[in-house]
């Protein structure tokens, strides 16, 4: 009775090797699937391209944040030394932009580094303590020597029958339905 209430989240297939995984990812991309993921114990070169992933926007985020940091650092130093508390230091002008470079550089690097770290987490949807693939017991192998692909139900092309046959046709083994009673 509980069986009927279980929800389907997707399909998991195991592949023999990193090369097979790369090849399969390209086939799935070509078949038009979007909502799928590859799971491997180590990063595989060329996987981004094989999965058809776009370039990450992280570089632009980091760049904008770094320049924002630079601007803020100049604002802070300029404002304090020209408006808020002007002091004559070594006979230099109040707004001595040269003197602000080290702090400006430092703040730019700080903002860039922090936005790289947190931006990476947000873009990767991390931290993510739960994922449908955890319904599979076989998936435990992923952290040692297993190569998996999961296709999620929310993909437009997803149907249980077609996707299963398709994964089998491109070399997927131990294909299983990811289902459980977690309510999203």
């Amino acid at each position: 009775m509980a069986q009927e209430q279980k929800q389907i989240y997707g399909i998991l297939a195991e592949f023999e090797s990193a090369a097979a995984l790369l090849h399969a990812a390209a086939r799935i991309r070509d078949a038009g699937y979007k909502e799928f993921d590859c799971h491997s114990p180590f990063p595989i070169h060329g996987m981004d391209e094989a999965m058809g992933l776009k370039r990450s926007p992280l570089g632009w985020i980091v760049g904008l944040m770094a320049f924002g940091g630079l601007f803020l650092a100049y604002l802070l130093q300029g404002w304090t030394s020209t408006i808020d508390y002007p002091l004559i230091i070594a006979g230099k002008p109040f707004f001595s932009y040269q003197a602000y470079v080290p702090v400006g550089f430092g703040i730019a690097v700080l903002f860039g580094a922090l936005s790289a770290f947190f931006g990476m987490l947000v873009l990767n949807k991390l931290p993510q303590p739960w994922h449908p693939v955890f319904y599979s017991n076989n998936f435990e192998k992923m952290s040692t020597d297993g190569f998996f692909i999961s296709i999620e139900k929310k993909d437009e092309k997803f149907t249980v029958d077609h996707t299963t046959t398709f994964l089998a046709s491109i070399g997927g083994q131990n294909i299983e339905l990811l289902q459980g009673d977690r309510v999203e």
């Binding site: 070169h45 060329g46 570089g59 760049g63 070594a90 006979g91 040269q98 003197a99 470079v101 080290p102």
Partner: protein, 387 residues
Amino acid sequence: MNIQLTKNSLATKVSLIIGVLGLALSLLGFFANHEQFFYSWLVAFAFWMSIALGGLFFVLIHHLSGAVWSVVLRRFPESFMAILPFMAIFFFPIALGLYDLYHWAHADAIAHDALLQEKAPYLNIVFFILRTVFFFIVWSVFGRLFYRFSIKNDVTGDAGYITKAKKISPPAVILFAFTVTFAAFDWLMSLDPHWYSTIFGVYYFAGSTMATYAITTLFVLYFAKGPLANMVSVEHYHDLGKLIFTFTIFWAYMTFSQYFLIWYANIPEETVWFAHRWHGSWKVVTLVLAVGHFVLPFFIMLVRAVKRNPLALTIFALWMLLMHFIDIFWLVMPNLHKEGAVFSWMDATTMIGIGGLFLWLVFLHLSKHSLVPINDPQLQNSIHHTG
């Protein structure tokens, strides 16, 4: 697999002819205005020396870090450094022009100058020449040695030569750092013998390395259309673009570090160097350098697509070489033309003269052996390098 440049190729002949013509015109300049000739020669010499030395640095760092990506294009910087002993020939006009170039070489000036008297144990003609001879011996030994290792590895297929190069590169890079620093002090900084900056050697090195990556990029892009078509990919010149970008920033870092401390301390004996370069039309050159050597390249090269586009990268590399020339011009020429920047026709002919012969020697070396180190154990990994 045999990728070789044809002997007596058009490029070899053209560079020889252009070089000889440039030198002949420069010689006329010597009779017209020998002071201008010596200064122009020093700029051209410092420019092309920086490429040869940068080539040595490229190869040293390549072996030191065990780099894989740059194996396929290593022969270009190797050819730059292989001609270091020949570059010593171009030093002779400077040795002849010491009196015109260097204020400290004037005995009467030293007699009335307490500071120059203090510096005389270091800044005197005999020691100056001896130092330069020593620099050239060090560079020639390493340049030829690492070139020999690479060629021996090509011919015999023995990977042990690469291992040897890896073993010698750490002490070599230390000697390289000291010799380049003091060469920059001697040849360029001592033009203004009262002034000193301890960072000056790194400043020259930063621009030099940037220029070497730029000219290596041009060689790679040029040969990528022909013999290296299946060997170098967008990943290789993307990486070269990143390195030009890196050393542009490094140059700016050094430039600013030098300027910043002098600006902060505001001591007349130090600020005078910048005062000369902020005087009259030199101010324009200084600003061109700040914007053209750092600000513009920084924002343009930040974009990934520019580094992956051969045409954009070619234009950028040429631009950076022009900036490197202006950089050295800016270091040297305010000592001659104090009232404002003057570009003499001799600045062009000496650059073309030494440059033509430089390229001729490089092409000669490239045509003698394979264009890629065919027996390097990492060659295949380098060709299939994916960034």
